[in-house]
Symmetry: C2
Subunit: 600 residues, 2 copies
C-alpha cells in the first residue's frame, strides 16, 4: 500500500465569495457565509447562503492538509479556563488494527495535546446554556442561521406549516442558548476539535445534512476519505460521520479531524470491535471505554451509541423480514445473547456520559433496531427501542450532555409522521436525526431518491438533521461522485423541508433563482443552484455557445415556443395597456357555457 | 439531414418473462404481465409485476419498426360495428412544417385507413361504461391491475392511508366499468391506435407515470424519438407524450404511434402553431380543428387542451415571479390579448368534444397557468383556472368524452395537499395528472428529485398519473439517459404512493426484494429492482467477482460488520433456544436506571 498525500478540491464556487459577519457579544468571532453575486442587470443584492464548506472555498486561505486547519476555537476554549491540557492516552497498535510497515497509514504530522474538563467542571454547551452563558459558539450559530438577513425584513413572508416547530423571525444568541438549555438543539463541539466552525442541530433551525464517509476492510484509503470529507462539505454537508472499519481507523480519523471545519461523528463500537478482532462476544466495557477516550481526545464531536437495544427487544425482531440491519444494533444483540445480559452500553450509559461531558462530545443515540424494510417499519421492536432512547436522553441531560436521537430507516410515506410524533412524545424534544427514511425497497441504485422523498417529509415534520443515503446504498461504498449526489439530494430534501416549515429565509434563494430563470439570466440561474457545475454542463450539452447564455429562450423549446419569452411579451403588452383597465375589462368575461349543474 | 432507420432496445429484463392472463368475459384477450423468477433456494413463486414495455421485451415477438406493432384491438373495435373506416384527411405540407427533400422525415411505410364513429354513435369507453357495457378494454385493464394475484389473498395485508380513494381488494371488470362511468378513471384508447395495450388512469388504480419525448426545432430526430419511446416504456412509462415542435411533426408522430404499445398524448396546439409559422396571433379555430382531426386520425390517445385559460385570469399572472410558464398557456394568453377575446379553445370546447368523441380521444385539460416557481404556487391564477377546468370536465362528460385534469408545477410541500383537495372538490373527481410538483426551485440538474418528492406525495394524496421530470428540466432536452432516470424516479414516486395508499398488491415486490436482501440472494435483489442493470453494475464496482454475488456480506461493511449476517446468527441462536422461552426471560429485564421523571 502506498500513501499518497491527500489532495482536496479547493477554490470558490462560481460567482461566490466567503463573506464574514462579526459578533456583537463576542466581537472577535467572524462567521462565514457565502455571497452569490448576480448579474448587474438584475439590480439585486447578492444572495447570501449558509456555507458549510470551510476555508477550502476561500481563495485567501492557506490550505495544507499535512498541517491541518487553523484552530478557530482554541482561544475561546482557553478563555473559559475550565479545561486543561494533559498528556492523554498513547496510541496503541490495536488502535490501527495492528497495521504496520507499509500497511500503516502515517500518523498525522502535527500532534496537539488533548484537553479535558478540570475536575468538577461542566464544560458542555448544555451546561453553559443552563447557566445562562451565551458562548461564542452560540453567537456564531445565531449569526450563521440568520444568513445575514436583517431582523424583521422577511417577517411578513412567513408561509408554512411547522407542525409545532417555532422558528423565530430572527435567531438571537439568547434564542440559541435557550434552545440548547432545553435540550431541543445541540452544538456538537468537542473541545479537542477547535478547527470546526460551530453549527447547531435542532428543530427550530435550518434542517441539516450529514454525509457518511469511511474506509472499510474491503476498500478505500486515508487520502480518499479526506478528499471525500472536503468534497462532501463543498456541496453542503453540515456534519460528516467517519464510519471507517478495518485497519488504520485511528490515523485516518486524525487526518480527517485536523482538516474538518464541520463536526465529525463516529460509531465508536466499530473501532472497539476491530480491537477485539471482530468477535462481537469479546467486546467489553473496558475496550469500549478506552475507545471512547481515544476518540474524545482526538476531537470526535458526536458519538453514536447503541445503548437503547435491550435484551427483551431482541425476540421482537425474529419475525421481521430483514431482522436487525443496524451494524451497531446487530453487534450488540449478538453480544447480549452470548453473555445473556444487558449490553455494557446500556449498563454503563452513565459512565459513558461522564466521559463525554469531560470533552463535550454530543450523543447520537443509535437506533439499533431501525427497520430495514417497508415490512418492518414502525414495529414493536423499533418503537420499544425509541422509548428507551428517550429514557437515555434524560440521563444524558442529567449529566449535562448534549444528545440527539437517531431514526429510521425504511418507512412508507403513511408511517413517517408517526415516527416523528412518537419521537417528539417520548424523547423530550431532543433533536431527531434520521437516515432517510427510504419510502420503498424496490430501487437499489436509486436509494438517494427513495430516501430523499422520506427525508424531505420527515424534515418537514420536524427532524433536525438528515443522514444522507447515496445511490450506492445496499450495493457498495460511495465513491466521490456518489457522495456529491447524496449530499445534493439531501440538500434538496432539507431545503424543501425548510420551505414547507416556513423558515423565514428559505424562499429567498428560490425566488432569486426563479427571477433569474424568468429573466433569462442563465449564469445567475446556474450560480444560484445547489450544483452550478452540473446545471451549466447540462445546459451546454444542448446549447454550448456562450451566446446562448444570454438567449431569450430555453433549449427545450427553441425561441418560438418559449413560454417565458411569450410571458414577457404579455407583460409588456399588459403594462402598456394599464393593468387595472385590463383587469376590469376581463373580469366579467361572459361564459359561453351554461352553469355546471345544467351542463350535466 | 440523414434518416437512419430507427433501432430500439429489445429483449427481456433480467430473469423476466412476459406472461399472459386470458379474459373470462372476453376469452380472446391476453393480458401481459412480467414474471420475475427468483432463485430456487428462495422457495418462492415468481414475482409478477405490471408490464408496460409491450412486445419489445418478448423474445418471441417479431419486432420491425418499419411495419409497426400488431394491431391488437382491431378486432375488438370492428366487432362493435359502431365505427367505420373512411378516407381521412390528406397530409398537407404544413403538417410537417413544409419540410421537403432531405429535411423531410420519411412517411411511415404502412398506411392504415382511419376509422371514426358512425353518425350518431357514441363510441367512447365512457359511453360504453354508462351503457353498462364491459368492453374488452375494461376487462384487460382489470386483469392488468390485479397483477395476477388471487382475489382475497392479500386482503388481510391492507395497510395505508388512502385519503378517500377506495381501492378494492380485487379489481373486477365491473369495477373498472363503474369507475369509468363515474368519470373517476379513463382508458385512453383512440380507435385509430389499436396497437396500444389498454391501461387505466384513476385514483382507485395503480398510480401511473407519463414520459415526455419529442423533437424540437433545436435538436433531435425521428429515430431518436422512437428509440426514446421504446426506452421509456422499457423502464415503466405507462403513457408517452410526444411534445415535438419544429418540422416533421406529422411524420415523426406516425412512426411513434405505429410502434407504441402505450397510449400517446400530444399538445395539438404545438403543431397548430407550427402551421401558422409560429405566430400565436395567427392561430385560428380552423387551423386548430384541422390539427385535431389530423391527430385523431393518426391515433393520438389523449389531447392536452388549454381551454381553461380565460381572459380575466391573465392579469392575475402579472405580479407572478415567473409569469406563465406553460407553453400552451402562454401561447393562448398571447392570442387572447391580441384578439381581445376569449380563446377559441374555450369558445369551441363543445366542438372539440365532438371531434374527440368520434375517435375516443381522451382529454387532458391543460393547466396553462400552473405555477413555475415556489413563489407562484397555489395563487389566484392557478386556482381560477382549475375551477374552469372543472367546468370543462363536466362539458366533456356531457359529450361522453373521457377527461383528466392537469396539475402543477412548482409547489412547496405544505401546499401540495391543497392542490389535490381543490382538484377533487372542483373537478368532480376526474383523474388528476400532475407535473411533479417540484418542491424547490434551487436545484436545476436535479429536478427529477425536487419533483420526485412532490410527485410521491401528490400521488399518495390521490393523483392518478405523474408526468415525469428529467434531470434536464429547465436546462435542455432529455437524452436517452435522462429519459431512463426520469422514468425510474417516477416509478419510485408512483410505487411509494401505491404503498402509502395501501394498494393491496404494492408491497409484494418490496417484501420479495427485502427477503432477497436479507438472504443474500444478490441476483434476486438486482432482478426484482426497478433497474437491475444499474443495481448490478453499482454492486460490481466494489465487488466484481461472481463469487461475491453469493457472499454472505455486503460490500459496504465487509464480512465482519455485516449486520444482516450477524442477524442470521442471532436468529439461529434464538431458534435453538426457543423463542418463547427467550422472550419470557427478557421481558422483565430490570432497568438499571431510575424512572424518567426521577432522572431529571
Amino acid at each position: 500500500m502506498t500513501h499518497p498525500s491527500p489532495t482536496v478540491t479547493t477554490g470558490p464556487l462560481p460567482a461566490s465569495r466567503r463573506v464574514w459577519h462579526a459578533g456583537v457579544l463576542h466581537p472577535d468571532i467572524r462567521v462565514p457565509l457565502r455571497a452569490i453575486d448576480v448579474h448587474p442587470t438584475a439590480g439585486e443584492p447578492p444572495v447570501t447562503v449558509y456555507d458549510s464548506a470551510g476555508p477550502y472555498t476561500d481563495p485567501d486561505a492557506d490550505i495544507a492538509i499535512e498541517r491541518g486547519l487553523p484552530r478557530l476555537r482554541d482561544a475561546w476554549i482557553a478563555a473559559r479556563t475550565d479545561t486543561e491540557p494533559y498528556d492523554g492516552r498513547h496510541v496503541k497498535p490495536e488502535d490501527n488494527g495492528f497495521a504496520d510497515g507499509e500497511r500503516l497509514t502515517p500518523e498525522f504530522p502535527v500532534r496537539h495535546q488533548p484537553r479535558r474538563a478540570k475536575a468538577g467542571r461542566a464544560i458542555t454547551q448544555l451546561a453553559y446554556a443552563r447557566a445562562g452563558i451565551v458562548t461564542p459558539e452560540m453567537e456564531f450559530v445565531a449569526i450563521r442561521e440568520n444568513l445575514g438577513r436583517q431582523a424583521a425584513k422577511h417577517a411578513l413572508d412567513r408561509d408554512g406549516e411547522a407542525f409545532g416547530a417555532a422558528i423565530p423571525d430572527h435567531i438571537t444568541p439568547e434564542f440559541v442558548r435557550d434552545e440548547v438549555a432545553r435540550g431541543r438543539a445541540i452544538i456538537p463541539a468537542n473541545i479537542n476539535h477547535p478547527e470546526a466552525e460551530p453549527m447547531i442541530i435542532g428543530r427550530n433551525f435550518l434542517v441539516k445534512v450529514n454525509a457518511n464517509i469511511g474506509n472499510s476492510a474491503v476498500t478505500s484509503s486515508m487520502a480518499e476519505e479526506v478528499d471525500k470529507m472536503v468534497w462532501a462539505i463543498r456541496w453542503g454537508a453540515d456534519t460528516v460521520m467517519d464510519l471507517s472499519t478495518g485497519r488504520n481507523i485511528h490515523n485516518i480519523r486524525d487526518w480527517i479531524l485536523r482538516n474538518a471545519p464541520v463536526p465529525i461523528g463516529t460509531v465508536p463500537l466499530y473501532q472497539a470491535l476491530e480491537k477485539v478482532g471482530g468477535v462481537a462476544e469479546d467486546l467489553s466495557w473496558e475496550v469500549f471505554r478506552d475507545t471512547l477516550i481515544e476518540q474524545a481526545e482526538q476531537g470526535v464531536d458526536y458519538f453514536t451509541i447503541h445503548a437503547g437495544l435491550r435484551m427483551h427487544m431482541i425476540p421482537m425482531t425474529i419475525d421481521r423480514v430483514t431482522g436487525i440491519v443496524s451494524r451497531g444494533g446487530s453487534i450488540m444483540a449478538k453480544w447480549c445473547l452470548h453473555h445473556h445480559k444487558e449490553s455494557f452500553l446500556y449498563e454503563h450509559f452513565a459512565d459513558i456520559c461522564d466521559i463525554a461531558r469531560a470533552y463535550d462530545v454530543s450523543f447520537s443515540l443509535g437506533d439499533g433496531l431501525r427497520p430495514g424494510s417497508i415490512a418492518d417499519a414502525n414495529d414493536q421492536a423499533q418503537f420499544a427501542e425509541l422509548e428507551t432512547l428517550g429514557e437515555l436522553a434524560r440521563i444524558a441531560w442529567a449529566k449535562d450532555c448534549q444528545v440527539m436521537i437517531e431514526g429510521p430507516g425504511h418507512v412508507p410515506m403513511h408511517k413517517i409522521k408517526q415516527n416523528m410524533d412518537k419521537q417528539l412524545a417520548v424523547c423530550g424534544e431532543a433533536p431527531f436525526y434520521t437516515l432517510g427514511p427510504l419510502t420503498t425497497d424496490i430501487a437499489p441504485g436509486y436509494d438517494h431518491i427513495t430516501s430523499g422523498i422520506g427525508a424531505a417529509m420527515i424534515g418537514w415534520f420536524g427532524t433536525a438533521m438528515l443522514c444522507y443515503v447515496t445511490p450506492k446504498e445496499h450495493l457498495g461504498l460511495p465513491d466521490r461522485d456518489d457522495v456529491k449526489v447524496g449530499v445534493v439530494t439531501y440538500k434538496i430534501a432539507a431545503h424543501a423541508a425548510d420551505l414547507a416549515k416556513g423558515h423565514p429565509a428559505a424562499r429567498i434563494r428560490d425566488d432569486a433563482l426563479s427571477r433569474a430563470r424568468f429573466e433569462f439570466r442563465w449564469e445567475d440561474q446556474f450560480n444560484l443552484s445547489l450544483d452550478p457545475d452540473t446545471a451549466r454542463s447540462m445546459h451546454d450539452e444542448t446549447l454550448p455557445n456562450a451566446a446562448h447564455k444570454t438567449a431569450l429562450f430555453c433549449s427545450m423549446c427553441g425561441p418560438k415556443f418559449c413560454s417565458m419569452r411569450i410571458s414577457h411579451d404579455i407583460r409588456a403588452e399588459a403594462q402598456k395597456e394599464g393593468m387595472a383597465k385590463m383587469a376590469e375589462r376581463f373580469r366579467d368575461g361572459g361564459s359561453l357555457y351554461v352553469p355546471l349543474e345544467e351542463a350535466e
